[in-house]
Symmetry: C2
Subunit: 165 residues, 2 copies
């Protein structure tokens, strides 16, 4: 175990200590690699990618710009219906911008958890603003924060693995 | 906002404060209602239940005793295959006891997060030991703790909603 340094004194309630600590953890320190496909990828191929990469959410781009998101739940709904998943592209079934909750690198782990809980989603993409070829403003995807990331963070908080923060 | 009471003094590192606080939160205080079906339920009916109840995991019982678990990921894998989901019962595709990680009411929120991360599952059932008709020992399902519960707890930790603990 690491030596115990940085001893702490405070007149703050313990909830505030927790709150301050968590709000200082940045998205860039907890985000993981996003899995991104293009809009013309078939639903079937996107599902195969979901399994191969072992993720719960697929992000969709058009010329590098975030345009949509498809969750395991969305895929399951399509898979049990009458849709031909070998023909329909993910662009048809995805949730489209601007209806996607996202975070930025400089947001806190708390901000990411708040977006996930308040929007009732499994993950949020981490984005950076970019300007498209046609001059339209948009976002490129640089990562994601999922319920798994938050659960792992919660787990690590008790395991002395967060010395670097 | 609640009045700030219970001011805190300690010579402990902040990680230890967090760790102690989190390890004192009990499963019984954060668990949610499990969705349980019997082994002879068809895969299709179980998926419909998954959507109606808006959960990510279905637990399976036989005469009140926990026998299996099926996740959204398991269902998706079956749904894109050649299985007739209207005929096959969940008992055929479920992960069976004893290969199910579970927790008890008196375990901590940390224990639940640890089981979820270490076993790479979306949720763990909360169980109590029972004795079956044939005298065999087993568990009945009294709740579940999912990544959503842990993410919500993390969120609440920053929102001053945990005064009761």
């Amino acid at each position: 175990a690491r030596p115990k340094v940085g001893y702490f004194y405070s007149g703050q309630p313990v909830n505030n200590i927790l709150s301050d600590f968590i709000k200082n953890l940045k998205v860039e320190n907890i985000k993981s690699t996003p899995v991104v496909v293009s809009e013309d990828t078939t639903v079937y191929d996107a599902i195969v990618t979901l399994f191969l990469e072992d993720v719960g959410t697929i992000y969709v781009h058009n010329k590098g710009m975030l345009t949509g998101v498809v969750s395991r739940k969305d895929f399951l709904k399509i898979a049990i219906g009458n849709t031909d998943i070998h023909k329909v592209p993910v662009g048809v079934i995805m949730t489209r911008m601007p209806n996607i909750a996202f975070v930025r690198d400089e947001d806190s782990a708390y901000d990411a958890a708040a977006k996930i809980i308040e929007h009732e989603v499994d993950s949020v993409p981490v984005v950076e603003p970019i300007t498209c070829e046609n001059g339209k403003a948009g976002f490129k995807i640089t990562g994601k924060v999922s319920k798994t990331n938050i659960t792992r963070l919660f787990y690590d908080l008790c395991n002395d693995k967060l010395g670097g923060f």
